[in-house]
Symmetry: C2
Subunit: 265 residues, 2 copies
């Protein structure tokens, strides 16, 4: 008898990932627990990136950090959690360019590396669905549509850029409900940043996504836009730090933190 | 030296009203304190009306009730508050039709009358303005635009009808903020019920109001719609109780309850 993906504990999933038994993405696994985006930077760059997150909490909501340079265990986020081996796939960047995709970063580890874990939309999508809302990208089984906008992030040192947003269409009453639900979860992007006319935030064609896939928008629905975790990735590509490690898209860090713990009320 | 309208205490304002020294509307007076809509019904009809309020809390949010039939003092809402004399103007209805407008209802009082006080939008407009949002009807110095919709209220006995909404235009980010702010105040209509396309709730022409005045809507703004306290008045006109008393439009009951007391969080 095997455990369903949704029911596997985060600890057991990380152990399987570490052993190379799970290599794909983590969507739908260990439901009810926070999954996070990963950014690892050398100490010199980490301070500026931390400041960038602090100044732009909606696209870059920090849910955890290593306790110091070189530390690869993150006990606050999970039992025996080793950031070097516990994600299914990593991307290695040099000077802003991806040079490799690997399943373990132990060989790349340096004593000056600082780890950042940023909240992701899986947590709030779960809260929306639990309330009875239909999340279109989930229903249609595709990646959430994402767009570059003309909304400037607040710069911090080398880090700057424009916000990337994800979009989910809702009828107005559900859009209002989604604001209420997501307001409770500031550390996973919080309330939407825009709704209605896409052109007002610099999106020319809602059917042409910059990342992810388009979804159906019915005539009685409004597009609702959330700050997206791709924003820091774009900022990283522009800042071009000499070295950087991130998760591969969809292959997140699965933590022991219940989603409900992120609710501020 | 006279006290500015905004700074007069609710108690002093009610004393002046009782003495016939203030007869106009109460908008802008005693800022920071809850003002309420008034509905007075014979006991036989009061139970059904109470049920109608309970089933439709967004248009009919109860902030207070008399402690029993015939009781005209409402100590929970204000010191020495006498509902028969402490509003600037009342409307007397017989069989659903207004027959008189008076400044004191002592002569109409009966031992079977039950008093309802319903929250009004003054409280949440104050919260929106305090947060830096521009409330268009306030800026333009007109009554808030109100519309009949095709949203059915949940019926209760003789009471039924469609929801009346008020409208305030906002840019999307402010519309999202208004949802957050008003969610804290369920007893003054709470979060908006709709935003965006007016035709989806049966409003054909946003520039033609059913009550109140039209306001400017800029091209980068969305109309945002709240359930409105005119809804129970329409339900009363349709139910045609043999006898009923309400406040005159704009001439509210000014209570001793701070607006902040209505915040649920």
């Amino acid at each position: 008898m095997t455990t369903a993906p949704a029911d596997i504990t985060p600890y057991n999933l990380r152990q399987r990932i570490r052993a190379g038994e799970h290599t794909g993405n983590t969507s739908g696994y260990s439901q009810g627990f926070v999954q996070g985006n990963l950014v690892i930077l050398p100490k010199d760059w980490a301070n500026e990136f931390l400041q960038f997150c602090q100044r732009n909490p909606k696209p870059c909501p920090l849910v955890g950090m290593s306790s110091g340079p070189g530390k690869y265990l993150l006990p606050d986020l999970g039992e025996n959690l080793d950031i070097r081996s516990d994600l299914p796939s990593y991307r290695i960047f040099r000077n802003g360019e991806m040079v490799e995709e690997v399943t373990d970063i132990s060989d790349y580890w340096q004593d000056d590396l600082v780890t950042f874990v940023l909240g992701c939309s899986f947590s709030f999508e779960e809260a929306l669905i639990a309330d009875g809302l239909e999340v279109r990208n989930v229903t249609e089984g595709v990646n959430v549509p994402m767009y570059r906008t003309n909304i400037d992030c607040k710069p911090a040192g080398s880090f700057s850029g424009q916000m990337v947003v994800s979009m989910r269409p809702f009828k107005a009453a559900d859009a209002i409900r989604s604001v209420q639900i997501c307001t409770r979860f500031p550390s996973v992007h919080g309330a939407p940043v825009h709704l209605g006319d896409p052109s007002l935030i610099g999106i020319e064609d809602i059917n042409r996504t910059d990342f992810g896939d388009p979804v159906t928008i019915n005539s009685d629905e409004l597009p609702v836009f959330w700050a997206c975790g791709v924003t820091p990735q774009v900022a990283l590509e522009q800042a071009k730090p000499p070295f950087c490690i991130t998760h591969s898209p969809g292959c997140m860090l699965v933590t022991d933190v219940p989603n409900s713990k992120l609710a501020v009320l």
